[in-house]
């Protein structure tokens, strides 16, 4: 319990960000027409690719003799980039088709 309390006090602002972001996420998504469900899912999919930043941090601070961290970090950056780039490009391709004709 003490650990939890001190964790809360230390990370208070992060807890606030989490709680408010949850409400924001719900608010932003509600009232979406069904036709946009797929592009929206795909767009959200690209956004969680933000995990790549963690991968860059891991890779960037791995010491040069820590091969496990370097190799795994390298893979993590590749996979994260795949998620980000692939996600945004696929979403863009889908949405391109919704363009108003003329």
């Amino acid at each position: 319990m003490d650990a939890l309390a001190s964790f809360f006090l230390e990370n208070q602002h992060m807890v606030y960000i989490v709680v408010l972001s949850i409400f924001l996420g719900i608010e932003v998504i509600s009232n979406v027409p069904a036709i946009l469900h797929t592009p929206l899912m795909s767009g959200a999919n690209a956004i969680h690719g933000v995990v790549i930043i963690g991968a860059i941090i891991v890779m960037g601070h791995a010491s040069s003799d820590d091969y496990l961290a370097l190799v795994l970090g390298f893979f993590a950056v590749v996979l994260g980039t795949l998620n980000v780039v692939g996600g945004f490009v696929v979403t863009n391709r889908m949405l391109e088709m919704f363009k108003k004709k003329k």
């Binding site: 989490v18 996420g25 959200a44 791995a62 590749v78 780039v85 945004f88």
Partner: protein
Amino acid sequence: MSSFLLELSYLIGSITFVIGLKKLSHPESARQGNLLAAAGMGLAILGTILFHEHNGERIGNIGWIVLAVGIGTVVGWMAAMRVKMTAMPQMVSLFNGMGGACAAIISIVEYHSHPDGDALYLLVVFLGLIIGSVSFSGSMVAFGKLDEKIKDFSAKWLTVFNLALLAVIFIVLATAMVSPETFGPSVLWILLSLSLLYGVLFVMPIGGADMPVVISLLNSFTGMAAAFGGFLYHNQVMLTGGILVGSAGTILTVLMCTAMNRSLLNVIIGSFGGGGGTSAATKGDQTVKEINLTDTAILCSYASKVCIVPGYGLAVAQAQHICHDLEKQLEAKGVEVYYAIHPVAGRMPGHMNVLLAEADVPYPKLVEMEDANGMMNSTDVVIVVGANDVVNPSAKDDPGSPIFGMPVIEVWDAKNIIVMKRSMRSGYAGIENPLFFHAKTKMLFGDAKETLQKLVAEVKMA
């Protein structure tokens, strides 16, 4: 100064994610929203590479990082540009799995570098590992299923087994928190393998038709895994981005379930298809009436209002463009044509709209299910192309049917129904469709694309 620039890039990144998601939920601004979020992401990534510091140390190994980003960009870009529109759901699932794997790897490396962190640090690391791994292996199975490489597999014991497995994961996790020496460093590999297994077994029994819901759920899982990474590094943009996707993804999942009139629990536990022997629809000896092309062409040409109900079969046959030709031919003859789109037509909500938009069908011609149902009474001919479960009357009147309660397009209110189908095989959900035996229904057998091509020619002559 550099840490200010870093935090500024994160703040801008977070703002673009929120505005991007908001814009993505309106048809006019969706594309702009996607590009905005992508730009914000690029900025946050660039900021991290240039300005991130940990204990006064800048990011090292830049050459390798740039190489990895380069590989990911080229492969991701090519894959995304080459994938066919029909295979879009698999692609989204695949990219989602990549994100999950990335989160899991981060946790592995973190634990490897600081195995003796305090309990809460370990909790965050392990939760990132568990959720990331489940998301990865689950997405891979979902990908395999949608690509029809993996068959459905369901058994009564599996539900129980999965719950037990989940319990074991939590027990191991709790033990590792309370007394880290029980398992030692191998706890990482135990949790990793259990979570990967759980991801596979969790998605395995879920029917193909429910796959979009699962992908959306796994999507929000990956968001959560990314948020745990944000906690780990006190990284605001990972935190906001991850949580935003986590909560928006959960809501999206619920919306999809609502569109099918089922609860999330029902999707996860009660698997679709398979059994269903209690259905009253299987009466055997019913006969279907066939119609030939010429009659179909005449029926349509002299109608005043025609409705086209497209389904996944249309997409598989790549017949969207010919369908659009048919619509133009009929319009030239003064027939009013509209498309009735079920929210889950295709393999994902909105999938059919994307496919028809690809074929240049004007946006106002796509009528959503509820409005279309209101128009059925005044419609002379309904042409069902490659759709099945979304026009199944059992959903309305047969409580024994597995899809009972799902909203469907009520085509039987129209004056004539023509069902274009390859054979009498049942739909994706594997259930019988009494519509084919309906008094108003006439069947036009054949490949969707070929039949439509011939029909267009017949309509020209009619």
